[in-house]
């Protein structure tokens, strides 16, 4: 058998087994949950583009809507190409140089280019499938709005396939060249920083553009005109131009031109694939060898070498052991601590949003609106904490990885381990959430009652969110994952997000009625009735019970499940 096919066989067998296995009873639930979420997102993209395209069509001037639609399409392709390139670089770096099974594969009597080809095929599929699937609703919306026939839909496939292959081949070539100079591990760290940097710049830039002005019809129209005048990269040598031209010709019904652009893309894809395999003959194995000899030996600039006994010397035993290890590991892992920048940007944008709120222009009373927003802000801040907990708290147990045996063999209960993890994450997230709430309430100039209510509610809700993260992370750990930080996309991670959202929603709903009455009474200087006071007291007591239960129950569940799991 062809060595490339042989090398791909384990992956195919594993995929087939995963698809048809009936051993795991939760698998079908997981599949349904992920399927529904994915479908919802897919339909959301479709609805958005369909709405935008029909809006363009409705703009009065002759042919202006079509120009805008084509302009939008010409923006879509470079965006997809950038996504495919970045995803391709990350995936091929991992597949070609950082996979755990590389030692085994490179010991096999097959040529490096066979290994490269097999890995590159895997990498192409892994890095492209999601972009390709979520590109479909964009093109489908064009097909629907412009009433296209089967040729247009077939052309989506013909244009996307070489487009993905070109991006993947270019990524693999770039990775092979860079790894010759820079070891794979270091390259990955740089990529992480680069990714975060690009995201931060895009996120902050998008927010500062103030997209809420789109709601204003005058501003919206001028923005549409501005968009029409934008220049997108359209060099005849860019793959995104070939794909765009192909789709544009398909929309116009020019089959000859459509096929010409597809032929250009396919020939480029085949040539680049050949060039990548050719380069792999000399570059791939050298890069693999270099990556294996470049492990970090010393802790680096963030060494925290003296943390152990000085500020935390008052702690003893397992608490100190787990705390010090957790903090040191966090600050020595660039994939972990670099996320703090994201947190900073998130907070800055969050506060900025409240600063630019046009409360004075609202048709309802400003003081009423301020207090309503402050009340809803409790939920919003709690959702932000859920997002942060999903990234930092939920993977805390999975981060033990294969070394979990140390915890299991140590004379310390799982209860202690989970409680230590709980108390490690509680102070920073609690402080952060209280800071957000107090700062936004001050920006909104809310009443003292609303300030006290927000501060106390968040004080009770955040421990519940963290306990949910730790408890469910312990109940559904993934010690085998190469990147446990991504475990939030697993079944347990989604369950955490859903339960956390339900918990926050329940707290907000329980408090909404009595708080509304109190705020209304306060604004109209009316005295509260005893029924209203009792309603508030009882609802607040229910919230307290709910928050206590949200701390105890998930932690107990996590302790019970993790105690049964062998390392």
């Amino acid at each position: 058998m062809n060595p490339v096919l042989t090398l791909l066989r384990p992956r195919l067998l594993a995929a087939r087994r995963a698809a048809f296995s009936r051993q795991d009873p939760t698998a079908s639930w997981r599949f349904a949950l992920f399927g529904l979420l994915g479908l919802g997102f897919w339909l959301g993209i479709f609805a958005l583009f369909y709405r935008v395209l029909t809006y363009f069509q409705s703009i009065g001037e002759e042919g202006f809507g079509d120009i805008l639609a084509l302009k939008l399409l010409s923006m879509v392709f470079p965006t997809f190409f950038a996504l495919l390139l970045f995803s391709g670089v990350v995936t091929s770096l991992s597949k070609l140089y950082l996979s755990r099974d590389l030692h085994l594969v490179h010991a096999l009597p097959v040529s490096p280019q066979s290994i490269f080809t097999a890995r590159w095929i895997e990498s192409t599929i892994d890095s492209s499938w999601m972009v390709a699937i979520y590109a479909l609703p964009v093109f489908f919306s064009y097909g629907m709005v412009y009433s296209q026939g089967p040729v247009f839909y077939l052309n989506i496939l013909a244009a996307l396939l070489p487009f993905c292959v070109i991006a993947s081949a270019l990524s693999a070539i770039a990775v092979m060249v860079v790894v010759l100079v820079l070891p794979a591990n270091r390259f990955r760290s740089i990529l992480i920083f680069l990714g975060i940097g690009i995201f931060l710049v895009a996120y902050v830039a998008l927010r500062l553009v103030r997209p809420e002005r789109l709601v204003d019809p005058d501003a919206s129209l001028s923005l549409v005109r501005y968009m029409a005048s934008l220049q997108t990269p359209s060099s005849p040598f860019l793959p995104s131009t070939w794909a765009f031209d192909s789709m544009k010709e398909a929309l116009a019904g020019n089959l000859g031109n459509m096929l010409f652009h597809n032929a250009l893309a396919i020939s480029a894809a085949l040539s680049l694939a050949y060039i990548a395999v050719w380069i792999s003959r000399t570059a791939y194995y050298r890069g693999v060898s270099k990556s294996q000899t470049a492990k970090t030996r010393t802790p680096g600039p963030l060494n925290l070498n003296h943390w152990r006994t000085r500020p935390f010397g008052f702690w003893k035993g397992p608490t100190r052991a787990l705390f010090v290890r957790e903090v040191k590991t966090f600050f020595r892992d660039s994939t972990q601590w670099s996320q703090v920048f994201l947190m900073g940007a998130l907070i800055a944008i969050y506060l900025y949003n409240f600063k630019v709120l046009p409360i004075e222009q609202a048709p309802i009373r400003a003081d009423y609106l301020q207090n309503t927003l402050a009340f809803l802000n409790m939920g919003l801040a709690a959702f932000v904490m859920t997002a942060l907990a999903a990234r930092f708290v939920y993977p805390a147990v999975s981060l033990e990885k294969d070394a979990f045996w140390i915890i299991k063999a140590a004379p310390v209960s799982i209860r202690t381990v989970l409680l230590v993890k709980f108390f490690i994450y509680l102070p920073p997230l609690l402080l952060l959430s209280e800071f957000l709430i107090i700062a936004t309430n001050r920006l909104l100039s809310v009443t003292p009652f609303m300030m006290a209510l927000s501060v106390s509610t968040i004080f009770m809700v955040v421990p519940g969110i963290i306990a949910l993260g730790i408890g469910l992370g312990a109940a559904y750990p993934d010690f085998q994952s190469e990147n446990p930080a991504q475990s939030v996309t697993s079944f347990g991670g989604l369950l955490f997000m859903i339960l956390s959202a339900a918990f926050i929603g329940a707290v907000i709903i329980i408090q909404a009625g009595p708080v509304y009455r109190i705020v209304r009474a306060g604004l109209s200087t009316r005295v509260l009735s005893s029924l209203e006071i009792w309603w508030f007291v009882i609802s607040f007591a229910i919230v307290v019970i709910l928050c206590v239960a949200a701390v105890i129950l998930p932690l107990r569940f996590g302790i019970r499940r993790l105690s049964r799991i062998s390392s």
């Binding site: 492990k295 010090v324 290890r325 063999a409």
Partner: protein, 245 residues
């Protein structure tokens, strides 16, 4: 020191350890040998508190592993066969971590840790990240950590895997020395020579069941082998029997 009462472990349909009962005295070096997949590592992991038996009881120095796991684990030094560790901390930091976990006094820790690092030839590597350690070095740092709290019982799975000849000699001498001081050692190994050299008694496990127990002469008698080494006994006792018709 160790008492196992009718211990069973099942993984779904697989009966990995069958009705295992065993008693090991203080200061005894006990070897556990058997073919691949016989149930050695499963037994070792149950002894170390990493796995819960499906049924049966495990007592360590009279403490029930199911009821008082922390007390039982506190007197064990556990050394697994595969040295998975925390990559982002240094060897010395790992020892500090283990010292805190097992309640080693802060005052005696530095001398103790440095002494162990020196003994296992890791003194020059103490301040380097574990990520940069070789397999054998990781195995040695685990051994350092297992000895840090002066355990009364050492449970070790394949002690010689990954060690160089000097390391093997060191570990052999160490086990003898510890046993002479009253420490109990429960070791599983595929190296029959190690078992023969070190162990006061040997248990042979096959397909989850303990099929022979005793010192080398007892085992020879059980296997009806008069001459030769432990290897002949092992091969005789663990040879595949034809399935009954």
């Amino acid at each position: 020191m160790i008492r196992l009462e009718s211990v069973n472990k099942r993984y779904g349909h697989v009966h990995a350890v069958k009705d295992l009962s065993l008693e090991i005295q203080k200061g005894e070096v006990f070897g556990f040998i058997g073919p691949n997949g016989a149930g050695k590592t499963t037994t070792i992991r149950m002894l170390g508190g990493l796995l819960i038996p499906t049924s049966g009881k495990i007592f360590i120095d009279g403490k029930d592993m199911a009821k008082e796991p922390e007390k039982a684990k506190k007197i064990i030094g556990f050394i697994p066969d595969r040295p998975f560790l925390y990559d982002k901390i240094t060897g010395m930091e790992f020892l500090r971590f283990m010292g805190d976990m097992y309640g080693v006094d802060d005052k005696i820790f530095p001398d103790k840790a440095n002494g162990l690092l020196k003994m296992f030839s890791l003194n020059e590597w103490g301040n380097e990240l574990i990520a940069s350690y070789s397999h054998g070095m990781k195995q040695r740092i685990i051994m350092c950590s297992a000895l840090l709290h002066d355990p009364q019982l050492i449970v070790v799975d394949e002690p010689m895997v990954g060690l160089d000849p000097r390391g093997i000699r060191l570990v052999k001498d160490l086990i003898r020395e510890l046993a002479a001081k009253g420490t109990t050692v429960f070791l599983s190994t595929h190296t029959l020579e190690v078992a023969q050299d070190l162990c006061h008694r040997i248990g042979i496990i096959n397909r989850g069941a303990l099929i022979a127990l005793g010192n080398t002469s007892d085992l020879k008698k059980a296997a009806l082998v008069e001459e030769g080494e432990l290897e002949a006994v092992f091969l005789r006792l663990t040879q595949e029997q034809p399935e009954a018709a």
